[in-house]
Symmetry: C2
Subunit: 158 residues, 2 copies
């Protein structure tokens, strides 16, 4: 059972989602706490799994990854074991920066990046379509990031 979040906890989460590398001293000042209790709350949020980690957001184009796409996958009827292994393979591909199982028409949505269209093609043709259990693969290229992956809203009441 997890403690309910205090208003301070919520302020901490809001700040840390926008600047995950802020020092504890500056964080404390922003949320209106002294450094010491602020640090204790931060550790508690980490220990409780409310904060799952911290990540630098890297500009993919700066790394020469010019292509970003969503891949919509439909699966064949198949034994559960196949599905597990398919999903494990998917997770292993470094082109896959996120992947979700969905309810509805499409079974899996894959968020992928690649350095160019050619290597993206190689990825879908040789490494997605060939996975056993895959019935259909459709890709849509990202034209623009309207709102880049961002903060989850922190409601005032839990």
């Amino acid at each position: 059972m997890r403690r309910p979040l205090t208003p301070s906890d919520r302020r901490i989460l809001r700040v840390l989602q926008n600047d995950g590398r802020i020092t504890n001293a500056a964080l404390a000042e922003k949320v209106g706490l002294a450094a010491s209790p602020c640090l204790r709350r931060l550790k508690a949020l980490e220990d409780d799994g409310v904060i799952e980690g911290y990540r630098a957001m890297v500009n993919r184009k700066a790394l020469g990854l010019e292509v970003e796409a969503f891949v919509f996958i439909k699966l064949e009827q198949s034994e559960p074991g196949w599905r597990t292994r398919l999903v494990e393979r998917l997770k292993g591909y470094e082109e896959v920066i996120a992947c979700y199982a969905l309810a509805g028409e499409v079974d899996l949505i894959v968020h992928a990046v690649a350095k160019d269209i050619e290597s993206f093609g190689e990825f879908t043709m040789n490494r997605l379509l060939t996975l056993p259990g895959v019935a259909d693969v459709r890709s849509s290229f990202v034209l623009s990031s309207i709102k880049p992956p961002g903060a989850v809203p922190v409601p005032d009441h839990a």
Copy 2:
């Protein structure tokens, strides 16, 4: 014009994508640099926009956000101005944690969260479907996060 990334830069990016809050001292040790040059490279990566920011990854369920979904939007033929305003409205919704313009069947993909199905319904019915210029809205709930939003691959050569 951006400097090419050095091998040290790449190591820094790989580490920081997995632990965005690592101290500079520990980062330096991991990538095999002294603290001072390590910090200088880090700042340069930030200044050049290679690192766009740092974010605490927050467990949405800990915040009472039980529902996660992808919303696929098709737009009507319309003047460019309408589209711009539609996109601005979309960006403003706190339920929208990411949004992309796509090539293909679907024009926009919206990654959204909500506290329950009812409030998600309110969001799609009252705040998405009513946007001028929207022709079609389809939602798929996320059943599981197979691979949570993660690191972009950092190739050895740019």
